[in-house]
Symmetry: C2
Subunit: 336 residues, 2 copies
Amino acid sequence: MNDEIITINHGSGGRITRDFISGLVLRIFDNDVLGRLEDASPVDPVRDGRPFMTTDSHVVRPLFFPGGDIGRLSVCGTVNDLATAGAEPAALSAGLIIEEGFAVKDLERILVSMKTAADEAGVSIITGDTKVVERGKCDGLYINTAGIGYVHGETELSPSRIRPGDLVLVSGPVGNHEACIICARENFFSDARVESDCAPLFGLMKSVLDAVPETRCARDPTRGGVVSTLTEILEGTGFGIEIDEDRVPVDEPVGAVCEVLGMDPLFMANEGKMLVIVPESGAEEAVSAMKRTRYGREAAVIGRVHDTGSRLTLRTRYGTSRILTMPAGGQLPRIC
Amino acid sequence: MNDEIITINHGSGGRITRDFISGLVLRIFDNDVLGRLEDASPVDPVRDGRPFMTTDSHVVRPLFFPGGDIGRLSVCGTVNDLATAGAEPAALSAGLIIEEGFAVKDLERILVSMKTAADEAGVSIITGDTKVVERGKCDGLYINTAGIGYVHGETELSPSRIRPGDLVLVSGPVGNHEACIICARENFFSDARVESDCAPLFGLMKSVLDAVPETRCARDPTRGGVVSTLTEILEGTGFGIEIDEDRVPVDEPVGAVCEVLGMDPLFMANEGKMLVIVPESGAEEAVSAMKRTRYGREAAVIGRVHDTGSRLTLRTRYGTSRILTMPAGGQLPRIC
């Protein structure tokens, strides 16, 4: 099917839709529950687990970028949103909106990428939906995923639990995803080799929660980056956070892109990073726990919660302090 | 905000996104869980209930039509997919993809419509996501909803449970949604007053399941209509179904549209109808149970399962028999 394209009939609900789902989607996603093609699919319930739900639509441009593609992104985004609650992913749904004329071989590559990411995260795509819209009514492909996950034991993560003196951890260098998208879109810095960090993070969160059950809260700094995410965490708490600029890990090629474009990695989207706030007594343990996992090797403490003003501030490398405010808009549209 | 429009920044994750979500979306959807704005939201678990999940993306054109709009459709579609398993809806997610320039007042109307339908179905929208794409990269608004529902007691609905002699019921007249979309889109028959049947059906299903616990299976005949849905039900069973043309309820204005356009209501999409297969002994009870509910007043037995050939056939009003096969494509794109 190398030069096949998606037509309106692939989404019309007739025999062509049916053959397409059976022939391509079921072959790739390959699980019995989805294979039944029922309108609703059973989720393996987790005894004594508390269910959580999340959703994200993905409209990233370009669809393929170094380090990932919209398929990997759509699985990791939802798995990571569940992980912020400490929820182990139990089931995913996938809703595809495809533009007429889209290449079947590109779709196949993206579906394989979803399956690979889901396997890595230990979750199955158990239900889905395909719609096809006319040329010019979509930009190739949009993917929505929703997810159900279960929180085990006593875990209760919430910004309302943070206290002055708590430390702020990040699981690795920041800014990679957005820097990668900028480079991929504009053909900038093609020799800079900036890759997206797109990765599923429940394993990392589990490692932290096992090591430090008193962990306060977690958020993945996607759109708006570290600054927007920490601003949201602080809302309503009355506390402030000071970030230490020198401690924020930034990969060298990402730093180079930022320098040339005048962008700040603290405001840039990540797709495989977690911000975690823990009591000071658990910080060392939590960093070690992250470092033992595949996506946490460069984890670091980057800041501290305080009660002298409810602001997010940056202690710069020159020793001065700067207030960080959530930007009104984004630096770049359609990064996820 | 009467002449306000959606801009790229409404979806960029910064302060404008935040204000938009707090000011419009939270005000309308109005529930505490969503209000926390966490990345993942807790679902009220149902003790001894078995969880089911489903998803649907909605790309209907036009966005507003007699009897509903994309908002009502997006809630009913997912509630009804859960209902086919006998699952009571417990939580919904909403993923909005909005085209830059979309009118805020139209969005508000659609969100209110989602909320009204969710209230009617007894479910809350507990998590969501908003993306904005550039002009020309979407057709106004696409909505994905996913849903979690719980099946109570011993209910186990599956096509594998149907047996020869079982009767096929429909909860009311067929073809209304697709006929309505045709008329709305083409400005045909503006005096025919064809309305979409778009409605949430868990209440109807619950009534049937309480009356006839031995109910075999259920499906809502959306894209591809009654014929595609029954064809899918028969797949792999080895049995056939004969529909009695005279017994299939069709509203008079829908019949008129079909006659003029040469379309067949049995192939047309419904958004507020359920096909249910029950043992013959329970058929009368099941029809009565449907008739007692708001959306089942014109429920009828329309056919019978048999073991003389695995085909779907129609006994016409002239007494002849005609084979019904699933069409290759659809009669009309983007009806849901």
